[in-house]
Structures are given as C-alpha cells and as structure tokens.
C-alpha cells in the first residue's frame, strides 16, 4: 500500500494519472476515427422499386403503378420489382459494383443503396388539329441513399415521355394500358421507364459523399401565366411541380449534377418518404442545400404571321433563374432568359395549333438551351436568349457552383 509523503509527490502522481487518461483517450480517439471511417471502394446495394412521397398520396399520384405494385407474376414475384430487376441485370454497366442479390437490410455496416423512386405518373390531353394528342409522362429518380443513416446521398432524375395522336378520346382503361406498357413491357426499349432509368444510372458518377448540394427550392408562377393555364391544370402547385421536375431532369442530365429533389407540398421536415414494392418503407433525410435555385416562369407570348401560302406561329417562353448561396446571400446568377419556337404550316392544311402545348415545348427547349449554355456557351444562341451583357460571366459563376456539387 503506497502512501504519499509529500503534497508534491501526490500532485505528481495526479498529473501522471491525468496524463495517462489523456493518452489513453488519444489512442482511443485515433482508433475510433480509423475504425469509423472504414476505407474501401464504393459498392451499391440494389433496393428495387419504390414510390417517392407520402404513401397516402400514392393512389392519387401514381394510380397505375400503385395498382400494379400488388400484382405478382407466375413465380410469385411482384411484377414491378421483377421487371426492374430483369432490366438492371441486363443493362447495368456503371463502373460501381452493384450488389443485387442480398438486397438492403439492417446490417450495421456501410450500405450505399440505390432505388428506383417513382415521382410522377401523368397524362396530358391536348386537342391537336381535330385529333387528340396524349402525352404520357413518367418521372423516376435514381435515388442513392445511405441505408443505415436513412439519408439521401444523391439524386438524379430520369424521365420518359410518350406521345400518341389518336382520333377518338381515350378512356381510363386505355390510359391504364399505356402506363402498364411503360412499366412492364421492357422489350419496347424506347418506351420502357425501367430501360430509361438504368440508362440514366449508367451515365452518372456515384460517390460516397458530396462536398455541396444544389436544390431547386421554388418555382414562382407569374399571376398572368396562371390566367393562361388551361382549365385542366386547376392546381398551380401541380403545374409548378411539373415545371420543376422537367427543369431538374434537363439540368441534371446536361450537367451530370445531383439535385436534392424539389419537394413542394410533399416533403415535411426535410424528409422524403420512400415505400418499396415489398412493403418496406422509411423516410430519408434530405441534406440542407448549400446552393439554391429559384425559377420564375413568366407569361407565354404568341404571335402569328400569315401569308398566302403559309401560317407562321411563334411561341415564346420566358423564365428568370436565380442561383444563390443562402448563408452568404451571394447571388451567382439572376437573369431572365427567353426562347421562341417557330412553327410554319401550309395554309391548305388548315392546322389548328394548341397554344398551351406549344408553349410547353418552347419552355422545354429553353431549359435545354439554358442547361447547355452553362458549360458550352454559344455567343449567338446566348444573345438570342438574353440581352444582358453579363450573361456569360454569370453562367460561368453558375458552372462553378455546379462543379462544387459534382
């Protein structure tokens, strides 16, 4: 039994003990850091088909997919999962190793997982020269997430748009059949959403983490534009979401950038629900955006010029895109852009154009032009899109923002 003869000796011993504890904690910390970081190549676990958003809205937002999600094939497999799985097996070619057989499960180990997340299933009906044009649109996200932490790592939208011009109005059953083909007829390569999704998956760079995140946080519709909207688009929020998803898809594909999904009216508390075909479901935490985009859609403009032989129609679309770092209140881009699509028809054809649909085509062209001008500016095209002399400089600043998010 040791006794301390002096206070000095006692203090020295105390110091020794404290130093030992500190040393031990230092050793502990270093090992914990090494242990917890666990280096290794990126591997992806395949999670399958899921619905993005609240379960309670699935029947409204994706009526056909929600119905198909309970149907099983002859082997007892869910038809949506089986079709997607087959396409992934056949088409997957991304350099990241995909672990498909195990599925995702609580393992306590790192599981960077990937899911097909359906985010839109919609039909548009447009009168077109005495005929009816149907536009079927399915948008799905390539959702990369951390299964253990239940947080979104990256997100790349994929879109399939299929158009049909018919003589007679289609019934709900007819629409169902078209969507059923889009989901399940994987032999029809150009109209299969699963083929399109895997094509998109093959084109992206998958990383374990990203330095910064970009998000389209708001789509503002000019009040005059709301007056131009056709009666079937009674909910401006629905149109805003549609514009957002198209812009996201085009920007993400052109610039190969991951985007935090636009979630107006869907995500609560920066979370996004994902429900899988097998019934598993959870909420993914969305990262806070480091850079935000706001898109303002201005009223469309229409002009017609007629000659003795032809009718010339011009459809103008106008948007203002603002890109900002919200913490610094730093603006990188804040500019109005335009696009004019011109269509010329032989007067003898007496073609009746659908203005709204033509405006949407013009808007999509504007998004494509804008997305390409960010990295490959074409002075002539840019001059036709904006009169602002600082356009090239501002787009360059936007490109730098995108580079930080790749």
């Amino acid at each position: 039994m040791k006794r301390f003869s002096t206070a000095k000796e006692s203090v020295a011993c105390l110091r020794d003990s404290a130093s030992l504890v500190r040393r031990q904690c230092s050793v502990l910390t270093v090992f914990l850091v090494l242990w917890s970081h666990g280096a290794g190549a990126v591997e992806l676990y395949y999670a399958g088909f899921s619905f993005a958003g609240d379960y309670s809205q699935n029947q409204t937002r994706f009526p056909v997919a929600a119905d198909l999600s309970t149907r099983k094939n002859a082997d007892g497999l869910l038809v949506l999962d089986a079709a997607l799985s087959m396409v992934v097996t056949e088409d997957y070619s991304n350099s990241v190793k995909l672990i498909k057989t195990l599925g995702v499960q609580n393992s306590g180990a790192s599981q960077l997982s990937i899911a097909f997340a359906l985010s839109e299933e919609s039909t548009e009906e447009v009168e077109w020269g005495g005929q009816i044009l149907y536009i079927y649109r399915v948008i799905a996200q390539v959702l990369v997430f951390d299964f253990d932490d239940k947080k979104l790592i990256s997100n790349f939208p994929a879109m399939l748009q299929y158009q049909d011009i018919v003589e007679e109005k289609r019934s709900a059953e007819d629409h169902y059949e078209v969507f059923e083909r889009i989901y399940l007829d994987t032999d029809a390569v150009s109209t299969s959403i699963f083929r399109e999704w895997v094509r998109r998956l093959n084109s992206i760079t998958i990383k374990q983490n990203y330095s910064a995140y970009l998000q389209l946080t708001d789509v503002v519709l000019d009040p005059e534009l709301k007056a131009q909207m056709p009666s079937h688009l009674t909910l401006p929020d629905a149109y805003a979401s549609q514009v957002a998803q198209q812009f996201e898809f085009i920007l993400s594909e052109q610039q190969e950038v991951s985007l935090i999904p636009f979630t107006k009216g869907q995500a609560i508390g920066k979370k996004m629900a994902a429900r899988f075909a097998n019934g598993d479901s959870f909420q993914l935490a969305l990262p806070e955006p480091d850079f935000t985009m706001t898109l303002t859609v201005h009223p469309f403009k229409y002009l017609q010029q007629s000659s003795t032989v032809s009718d010339k129609h011009a459809f103008g679309s106008f948007v203002t895109l603002a890109v900002e770092q919200p913490d610094l209140n730093k603006i990188y881009l804040d500019m109005r852009f335009k696009n004019v699509n011109v269509a010329v028809f032989d007067k003898r054809d007496e073609t009746v154009v659908d203005k709204w649909q033509s405006f949407q085509t013009s808007l999509r062209s504007l998004f494509v032009n804008l997305a390409t001008q960010i990295s490959v500016p074409d002075k002539k095209l840019l001059a036709s899109m904006t009169k602002d002399k600082s356009a090239e400089k501002q787009l360059k600043q936007f490109e730098e923002v995108i580079k930080k998010c790749i």
Binding site: S17, C25, G108
Partner: protein, 375 residues
C-alpha cells in the same frame, strides 16, 4: 492509495483496450456522421500590396470554421450530455480534427472595404467517435469489466385493456326567496271612503353547487419485457455499467418476484410500497448500487400516412435510485416521453416501438448518470 490503485488499473487495462480497439478496427464498419452547416465572419488585416485576405488569414478562418461547426453540433446535446461534455470539453477541442472531419468551404464573401471575410462551410461530425469518447471518458466508462456499478432494473411493458371513468357527480343547491310589498291608498269623497291595496311578489332564486370528477381507472395487460430488457441492457452495458438480471437478484438474495411487481403495475400506476422496499432491500443485499423501475405504456395504433406502415405509440417513464445508503436517492428520471414505432403489422410495429422507447430511455439514463459522475 486510491490514486495509486486507479493508476495501476489503467496500466493493466491499456493492452486490453488496444486489443479491443484493434478488433473494432478490423471490423471496419461505417461511422454515424452528422453534417453541420455554418458561416464564419472574421476581420482580416490584408497585406501591404493587397486588400484581400492572406492565405494565413484564410487558414485561420478554416480553424474557426471548424470550431463554429463543432459548437453548432454540441449545442444540440441534451442537458445531461451537455453537462458531461462541458467537463471534458478541452479534451475534445484539443483533438477537434478527429471529430470534425471533412470541412468544406462552400464559398466565401470578402468585404474589402471593411476588411471582413465571411466563409460558408459544411463539416462532417464523426458522431460515433464523439459518443464513444464521451462514453470512455465518463466515470462508468472508465471502469474495467466487472468493476462498474451493479445495475438492476424492472421495466414493465403494458397495454391498457380497460379504462373506467365514473360519471361526474353534480351537486346542485338552490334557494328560493320570495318577498311581498303592499301599498294602500285611501280616497275620500263626502261621507264615503273606499280603500284599495296592491300586493307585489318578488321571487329570487339562487343556484349553485359543485361537480366532482374522478380519475379514469385503467387496467393494464402486462406484456413480455424481453425486448425492453435486451435494449436497455445493451445501452447500459456499453456505457460501462454491470447489468444484473432482477431474477438473479431474487434467486440469490430474495425479494419480491418480478411477476408480483408486474401484476401490481397492471392494476396501478406504481408498485406497492412493500414490493418496492422488498426489491430494493434484496438488491442492496446483492451489492447492487443502482436500481431502476419503469413502465412503457403501449398506446394508440394507426396507419402512418407517410409510409403506409402500421404505427404504434408508446410512452416511457423511468426512475433510477442510488440504493447504497439507507434511504434510496433518485439519481435519474426519464419521461414520460412518447415514441412511435413502425412495422408491416401491429406486432412488429409494437416491438419496434418498445425497442425504440427502451433504447432512448436507456440513453437518457446513461447521459444523466454520466453527467453526475456516477460510475
């Protein structure tokens, strides 16, 4: 003597600790991480030939950014965890690079006129390392295996099977009063006289009383507490406490049976005084120093509109006593706090909810005991 003993314990434990950590390193799992965003605003001097901040000044801003991110993260600690952290804050700050990793400058803004630089950063906090270090530096965490406090607990999971509420008892009191007033007038004309009188009656009614309410009497069905015990034990053991099964206490040192306590919690909101005395006495005889009881009430079951899963709510309440002295002292108290568990059916949702409630209650208990330096 105490210091010498503790020192020798540390020396003996170091190889064991290293082996343990090496084993963990070989398992190479992934850390739980938290991303924190923040901005730092700093004045700078600039140089003779430039009004922009120098590289060294930007480097200083990065260090401040790291500290700021750390402060933002620690500000989210609960009270107990914050108290424990404040005691060892300097240890963390001296090795901040190990906890705040991957600091990324999102962008910077330089005001050359006022010579102020503002930097927006995103940093990743290695939460696994933070929690493990806090645990290791706590009084309980510094105990070797077999040296921690003996901790026993009785947690009861119960589901309300009946709720009886007596009708409110109303006592009304009324009082009626009436009063009459009369006026008489006389009129004379020559030799004759006549009289008339008017009588007015006023009724006044006063009512009052009281309503007597009685508390709802609930009967509970006590369900299996195996999941609770497993989750609670996992948290307490990891934190350095020596968990002893209450049934083993009863076997070795007597005391009231768990089933008796369970049935008492089925009928009432608390265990009887005699049962509590018996359980604490037996635990003390078995050298147990910390004794805890708690209930986890299984509540509403519905469908979660977001995920479509079944959802079960539970409410947890727990208390921990230090029973080393004659009079037990309450050293930790949790809840009532509600948690929701999800699952494909009610049974799975309920088990998930119970497990979550037990785990969270266990963490809260550990944080409170660590903050008080109880080992």
């Amino acid at each position: 003597m105490h210091l010498a003993t503790r020192r020798s314990t540390y020396v003996k434990k170091t190889p064991l600790l290293l082996i343990f950590l090496l084993l963990m390193a070989s398992m190479s799992p992934k850390a739980a991480t938290v991303d924190v965003k923040g901005t730092i605003t700093l004045p700078y001097k600039g140089s003779l030939f430039s009004s922009a901040p120098s590289g060294a000044e930007k480097g200083g801003a990065m260090h401040d950014a790291k500290l700021q991110s750390w402060n933002l993260y620690t500000a989210q600690f609960n009270d107990a965890k914050m108290r424990q952290y404040l005691g060892v804050k300097e240890e963390f700050l001296s090795q901040i690079d190990n906890y705040v990793t991957n600091v990324r400058v999102i962008d910077e803004s330089v005001d050359k006129d006022s010579k102020i630089i503002t930097v927006a950063v995103r940093a990743t906090i290695n939460e696994t390392a933070v929690n493990a270090t806090l645990g290791a530096m706590s009084a309980a965490g510094q105990q070797g295996s077999g040296e921690g406090s003996l901790f026993t607990f009785i947690f009861v999971a119960r589901e309300a099977v009946s709720a009886k509420t007596k009708d409110n008892k109303r006592i009304d009191v009324s009082q009626n009063q009436s009063a009459s007033t009369a006026t008489e007038s006389l009129a004379g004309s020559g030799s004759s006289a006549s009289s008339s009188s008017n009588v007015n009656t006023v009724n006044k009614s006063t009512t009052g009383g009281s309503t007597e309410s009685t508390a709802t009497q609930r009967k509970y069905q006590v369900t299996s507490s195996q999941d609770i015990n497993a989750n609670m034990s996992k948290i307490l053991s990891t934190a350095g406490f020596e968990v002893v099964d209450y049934d083993d206490v009863v076997d070795a040192c007597g005391g009231v049976e768990r089933s008796v306590i369970g049935s008492e919690f089925g009928a009432e909101d608390d265990m009887s005084r005699s049962s509590r005395g018996s359980a604490i006495g037996a635990s003390r005889d078995c050298d147990v120093t910390l004794f805890a009881t708690g209930t986890i009430d299984i509540g509403v079951q519905d469908i979660d509109p977001v995920t479509g899963n079944r959802r079960v709510y539970t409410s947890v309440r727990a208390q921990v006593w230090d029973i080393t002295r004659r009079l037990p002292r309450k050293v930790a108290s949790v809840g009532p706090v509600q948690y929701a568990g999800l699952g494909p059916d009610d049974k799975v949702a309920m088990r998930n909810s119970l497990a979550l409630a037990a785990e969270q209650a266990g963490r809260e208990i550990v944080d409170q005991l660590n903050a008080k330096g109880i080992r």
